[in-house]
């Protein structure tokens, strides 16, 4: 990881000539001003250019032309601006240019990240200590509310249920499937894997619609069941069930949708990890008389444990932030609210900025420990390589 940068010979290692007074040096104020300017000019230009382009907002314009222009402007504009910036830096004295150029490369990314992630994170935290219209300070009131009022307590309880059950289900099913399919022919393997993997390409909103025809419910006497689960219930002589309104099980039925979406992801990654387990080790275990299950437990499982942790935490974080499925299927009614969806409902439906922001901060703080654990594991792994 300690590769010496090769292209900056003159910058640090070169003999430092005594610089006459007034001439910009690498660390001089003038160079820093140029660096900051070059980092900011491009993103500001980009934003001004995009938003000044009124044509993109003209509602009467032809849609297809608008799309083509949008794509050309969006795509070509960015490349063009980097090129232009680079040309301008080339006009500077070589030494100064060399000191300034990296900031023109990194600057736009940093500026955009500052505006879209750093500033909002700070601002949302501030808003969470203010009242619903962000007019006066209320201390920890919003936080006290989200931990004491039943609506939010249920949301937190449900979210915990989601993050416990969904990742486990996705990993267990994914791992079982990957292990079994590994023993079948290549053709069967690739076809069945595609079937499991396919939902990954479907949006959460699309998945909600897909499952509308699984969980569909009509009270008796209001026509045939068009949801397959209730059709089965009726066929085996049971009463149809309103799956999405029967508390607390409706939460489980919503979780199934996310498991359906995420298992493909866990299966593909675990499958490639399983294929990385040396066949010699498995062979040795079998020769020692281990059954397939024992070989799996004592050879495969330990070798892929770090991949399992990665998959598990990735699915967990996705699950923790799940919003669309609940928002579209139940709107959080009937005791199905979760934190991420309640946050949006609070903000847009109830116009309560303070509580919405407090829920967002909760979403943020809760993932930090998981990421720290992940980073530590990653570091330990890198160290032992």
């Amino acid at each position: 990881m300690t590769r010496p940068p090769v292209t900056e010979q003159g910058l640090e290692k070169g003999p430092r000539l005594p610089s006459p007074a007034g001439q910009p040096r690498d660390s001089g104020v003038a160079v820093w001003l140029l660096r900051i300017a070059s980092a900011l000019v491009l993103p500001l230009l980009m934003i001004a250019f995009f938003f000044a382009f009124d044509f993109l907002r003209d509602e009467d314009a032809n849609k297809a032309v608008q799309v083509v222009v949008a794509v050309i402007v969006g795509v070509g504009g960015v490349w063009g601006m980097y090129w232009g910036m680079d040309r301008m830096i080339s006009l500077l004295p070589e030494r100064t240019g060399r000191a300034v150029r990296p900031f023109a490369f990194v600057g736009p990314a940093m500026a955009i990240l500052t505006f879209y992630l750093v500033y909002p994170a700070v601002n949302t935290t501030i808003i969470s200590f203010q009242d619903k219209r962000s007019e006066s300070w209320v201390g920890f009131d919003n936080y006290i509310r989200i931990f004491t009022e039943s609506t939010y307590q249920i949301a937190i309880r449900n979210s915990l249920g989601w993050v416990i059950l969904v990742p486990i289900a996705a990993v267990v099913i994914g791992l079982a499937f990957a292990t079994m399919v590994d023993k079948l022919s290549r053709r069967t393997e690739s076809i069945t894997k595609s079937l499991i993997f396919l939902p990954m390409a479907i949006s959460f909103v699309g998945a909600a619609v897909v499952f509308a025809f699984v969980y569909g419910f009509r009270p008796e006497g209001f026509g045939n069941q068009i949801g397959i689960l209730n059709a089965i219930m009726v066929a085996i002589g049971q009463d149809p069930v309103n799956w999405l309104q029967s508390q607390p099980w409706n939460n489980l039925f919503l979780m199934v949708i996310l498991v359906w979406l995420q298992t493909g992801f866990s299966m593909v990654i675990l499958s490639s990890a399983i294929k990385g387990v040396p066949e010699v080790l498995l062979e040795a275990a079998r020769i020692d008389g281990a059954s397939e299950w024992q070989a799996f437990r004592s050879v495969t499982l330990p070798s892929i444990s770090s991949t399992i942790v990665v998959v598990w935490t990735t699915v967990l974080i996705t699950t923790w932030k799940v919003f669309d499925i609940v928002f579209v299927m139940t709107g959080g009614r009937d005791g199905t609210q979760v934190v991420a969806q309640q946050m949006v409902t609070e903000f847009f439906t109830f116009r309560n900025n303070g509580v919405g922001a407090a829920l967002a901060v909760l979403l943020f703080i809760a993932v930090i420990p998981i990421l720290i654990i992940n980073v530590q594991r990653f570091r330990a792994q890198e160290a032992t390589r």
Binding site: L113, P120, L195, V210, A231, N353
Partner: protein, 295 residues
């Protein structure tokens, strides 16, 4: 091992017969079927007569599968007339720049982090990676306020840049790791030949980074195309500007009245990501596994 000793000619993967694998075939088949039924049902429904969709479940077509009266494109026609073609155009206009802009910005930054020397390099890179923790929800309220005061909500660039911001940390991280692993000798020799950074970047590093650029592009594309929250908040629900997911959620919210249109509408929203996914599955899988499987 505490099990009884068996002779060394135990059956291995290759010598096992189909018969002993029967339970595996059955379980795999069962899971694959369970996973396919929901989307298969939707697919069948999308081609059925509107009245039949409301009247009976999709599995009833199995009796009249060869009857031409069973199948119709009517639902697709209605759906496309009712704003889905407009929403489709909006989604394209949102997605392509929202993929290319963050990749371009991230590639320049990743190149600088990997191959240029400047004060604060490591600190800035750590900050970028750390920002992966910030959930999208944190950004909604403040950004919407700024957008509203500037009067830019409901414009494409507003959404492009928001997606760029949310996608950048991962993009910079992945691209920097990949670019940093390229051999330094090629850059050295290009420098000796007199190439400047812009040339090395555009003529050498970008072409060499195509695999990682492609797998991030697929990620970001699927994410943006399927996104509901960002589009809902920053682009809004006005029929003129709304994207496919917003249009579909709106249709789903209309209840029984729109029931027959839902399957066709859902497939209109899915067709592009499914095509991309199947065409580029290998790239996609390679990208997924490269990031998370450590040898």
């Amino acid at each position: 091992m505490t099990t009884t000793h068996t002779p060394p000619d135990v059956p291995t993967k290759k010598s096992e017969s189909r018969f002993t694998k029967l339970p595996i075939y059955l379980t795999v088949g069962l899971i694959a079927t369970l996973w396919t039924i929901p989307s298969l049902g939707l697919f069948i429904n999308s081609f059925r007569d509107p009245k039949a969709i409301r009247k009976e479940g999709w599995w009833t077509v199995l009796g009249s599968i060869f009857d031409s009266a069973t199948w119709t494109l009517e639902n697709y026609r209605v759906v496309l007339d009712q704003g889905f073609s407009n929403a489709f155009a909006n989604t394209v206009a949102v997605s392509i720049p929202a993929v290319v802009i963050p990749i371009t910005i991230a590639a320049f930054a990743a190149y600088a982090f990997a191959w240029m020397k400047f004060p604060g390099r490591n600190l800035l890179f750590v900050i970028v990676v750390g920002l992966m923790v910030v959930p999208l929800q944190m950004a909604l309220i403040p950004i919407l306020r700024v957008y509203t005061s500037l009067g830019v909500t409901g414009t494409y660039p507003a959404v492009w840049l928001a997606h760029a911001g949310f996608g950048l940390p991962l993009a910079v991280y992945l691209l920097r790791n990949y670019m940093g692993s390229l051999p330094s000798s090629i850059i050295e020799s290009a420098t000796i030949d007199g190439a400047d950074h812009f040339k090395i970047f555009s003529k050498l590093i970008v072409p060499l980074s195509v695999p990682v650029l492609a797998s991030f592009a697929i990620f970001q594309f699927l994410w943006v195309w399927n996104d509901y929250l960002v589009a809902l908040v920053f682009l809004g629900i006005e029929p003129e500007v709304r994207v496919l997911t917003v249009e579909l959620a709106d249709l789903a919210g209309r209840g029984e009245g729109a029931l027959n249109l839902l399957p066709a509408a859902a497939f209109v929203t899915m067709i592009v990501p499914l095509a991309v996914f199947f065409a580029l599955q290998r790239f996609f899988v390679r990208g997924l596994t490269a990031g998370s499987v450590k040898g």
